[in-house]
Symmetry: D2
Subunit: 149 residues, 4 copies
């Protein structure tokens, strides 16, 4: 399983795929900062949007039931707290493709200062349906992530 | 569509089906009190548990695809704020059955003082699958809610 | 407490404040359609964005602790199910101002067909901090909602 | 920063602190299995309950504003999918204490078969308030986690 080390995700200079959003009112917890699990929602939203923007509709994939890409591993490093209303850039600068796996490296920065608040990654395993046996990365997905390899 | 008025939900003396839980760390929003949508999660959790405790497994219902009970209407009145760690009683004291609809009345109270914090209700419409046409309330569900009618 | 009737929210012709978004992968529940509480998140996101766009930063309001606007009542009518990936228009066409209350009427439509999927509303009560006594609608908020009255 | 390797979390025989719960209706995503971020909610719920059960009320900690324990790192490995209604055991079998950090190792198993579905961990950094400078693990917390070291 391919994993990025935290330093790589911090130092990569490529911008990659970026979307700006705000930390929502309800994404904050009782300590007054973003709840740690919320960043995984931001990352997954970006993943869905990246696929869509590169010709792979996850809605269609789920309808066709040919393959699935369950997450095998996820992790995040939190460098500074995010608060309600913070304008953030969620970016996907790097991806790594293996035979039947895809590792995605994410970065969340404050839009104003570009200070990195979180680096994260997810490892997706491709399986053929309905038997859930590992399969090669589907060609459409393989092509979609070429710009980030 | 049958709806309870707020006063009825406040004044009903029957305890009904009750579960105790705590307001979670992440259910709070940037204002430091429970996010208003979270109470609908608490109510739905109780609905699933009520059905299970009265012989209707929603897991099985979803597998069998004979019928569904989408929510047609939901509402809540917020009487006092709830905070992280508050021990609350979520209760389902009343239900109303119509030809193809079920209205459920909920109440959320502080466990210590029994002060009511929220009253809520949901109206479920029963439909036959796969064509989504209205159907009578399934007998198992009809029987399950008799104690609350 | 001022409440819209469902028919008013369905038939109002004013577009009001509109934002387009997609139903998220994780907003869906085990029945394969949007979880009913998720629409309240969409409405609240729009409320925050409306305020921001009309000169009232909720971030600043929370910092200054002069007043708060807790939700006293919320409700939604669900007319058709929404699914993962659906492109929707969340709109705020109408608002009603009273002495110390604000009622907001929302509508969620499919972006393509403009069919209404959900109508919803929330009633906010204005209170002075730190004593939580009712106060008049703050002038900035009062002015902000004039276009929708 | 101390991190467990996945094999350690899989093979540890100590039961530790365990709570049973069910995968909720709304914790599932459009692929029909638990959304990956939901497991972090389950872990955090257990963390709060563990502290409470061992004499540390997070509610009090947040009120007193002497210290905080923001999460610096979190990760999870997903071994098998969880579905709506699955009865699961969320356990905290191991903890590691350092000068100003706490690493918690979690395991989520199916209650029936005890098959492991997820292993996860979180690293908390202790900081004194209001200046957010690193501080030693507070004595109450240090003592609370002795049974798991």
């Amino acid at each position: 399983m391919y994993r990025y080390d935290r330093q790589t995700l911090l130092s990569v200079t490529r911008e990659g795929f970026v979307r700006t959003r705000r930390v929502r009112f309800q994404d904050v917890d009782a300590a007054g900062v973003i709840f740690y699990a919320a960043v995984f929602e931001y990352c997954h939203d970006l993943y869905v949007e990246y696929l869509e923007a590169h010709g792979v509709s996850l809605v269609e994939v789920l309808k066709q039931r040919q393959w699935a890409a369950p997450i095998r591993h996820a992790e995040a490093d939190y460098l500074r707290p995010l608060r309600f209303g913070d304008e953030i850039m969620v970016s996907l600068p790097v991806a790594h493709l293996a035979e039947s796996e895809l590792t995605l490296g994410y970065r969340i920065s404050l839009a104003g200062t570009r200070e990195v608040a979180v680096v994260a990654q997810s490892v997706h395993t491709f399986v053929a349906l309905p038997d859930f046996k590992r399969c090669p990365v589907p060609e459409g997905v393989f092509m979609a992530f070429q710009p980030l390899v």
